[in-house]
């Protein structure tokens, strides 16, 4: 049985709940949810198992069945104690730094500035998480991921532009050479 954690409106972490128990919890579509096997917290509406709850949210089933099922619940093996017992959202620290340095090495300094936005967000994730601000930490993680991906694709675009310009250059001078050789004959 999978168990879910969620973050309530005050930023506190609640759980574990089975899917059936989750039905009677005050979860909205944008509530952040996590379960074993997920790399990071996701909005409830993006989780395949939970999405149907919003479609058939009938009268809440008897709350008496909310017996904590701790005994056979397995925590994430990487987790430590206390606040850490829930998975920290992906920090994006390594990716955001790499995605900033790599385009810089290819001489794309303007794109590297985008990477700084990602690094700043990424560096917030861990400290927010340590303070117990799970919602904010997750938001920072999502933001860092978004900017890392933007920087990544912009860099890819720059590389493709570079390749196109090389090809155009070669074709242009190649044709010039062809024309001049035709004229001389």
């Amino acid at each position: 049985m999978t168990h879910f954690f969620y973050i309530d409106s005050e930023g506190k972490q609640k759980g574990p709940f089975t899917l059936e128990e989750l039905r009677s919890e005050p979860i909205k579509k944008d509530t952040l949810v996590w379960t074993q096997g997920m790399a990071e917290w996701k909005r409830a509406n993006d989780v395949v198992e939970i999405k149907p709850l919003f479609e058939f949210k009938g009268p809440s089933t008897s709350p008496e069945t909310n017996i904590p099922q701790q005994e056979n619940y397995q925590f994430n093996p990487q987790a430590k104690t206390g606040v850490d017992s829930v998975l920290m959202p992906k920090t994006w620290m390594v990716e955001s730094i790499l995605v900033t340095i790599l385009p810089f090495i290819l001489c794309g300094n303007i794109f590297s500035l985008l990477g700084i936005v990602a690094i700043v967000s990424a560096s917030k994730v861990e400290s927010l998480f340590r303070q117990g601000l799970f919602t904010e930490a997750t938001e920072a993680s999502l933001n860092a991921g978004r900017w890392t991906k933007i920087t990544f694709w912009v860099a890819i675009g720059a590389i493709i532009l570079g390749i196109i310009s090389i090809v155009l250059f070669v074709v242009f001078f190649g044709s010039l050479a062809g024309i001049s050789s035709m004229l001389s004959i």
């Binding site: 620290m93 090495i105 290819l106 300094n109 690094i119």
Partner: protein
């Protein structure tokens, strides 16, 4: 999802291999069609990445001092990038959890950015 990832890795490694082969066999000093730095062309100032292609060419021929004279940052960050890939994707994160916070933490990011900016200013003055 898994097969999509596999395709992505295959494409990426193909591109990297092609790039390495290109930079190994072709000396950017000799052939004019290697892309010029747009920042240098527009402003006349060198950016922190200028000389990196020549530096990579020298590095692939194990000429470290030559690479260093073209662009020292490439020599320094080459191993750093490999370290990052190792930590994040090849299992280094679980083996050495301390290493990530040391080399890819807040302070490390700040040091790297200051180094880049400092190098940027310095190479245009001296």
């Amino acid at each position: 999802m898994k097969s999509k990832q596999r395709i992505l890795i295959a494409v990426a490694s193909f591109l990297v291999a092609t790039a390495i082969a290109l930079f190994f066999y072709i000396d950017p000093n000799v052939y004019p069609f290697f892309p010029k730095c747009p920042f240098l062309v527009i402003t006349g100032f060198k950016c922190p990445g200028c000389g990196s292609q020549r530096a990579i060419h020298q590095l692939l021929h194990f000429n470290i001092s030559g690479a260093f004279s073209h662009n020292p940052l490439v020599v320094i960050y080459g191993p750093y990038i490999l370290l990052g890939l190792y930590i994040e994707y090849w299992g280094g994160k679980n083996k050495f959890p301390k290493m990530q916070s040391l080399f890819f933490g807040k302070i490390a990011a700040l040091v790297i950015l200051i180094m880049i900016m400092g190098f940027w200013i310095a190479r245009n003055i001296f």
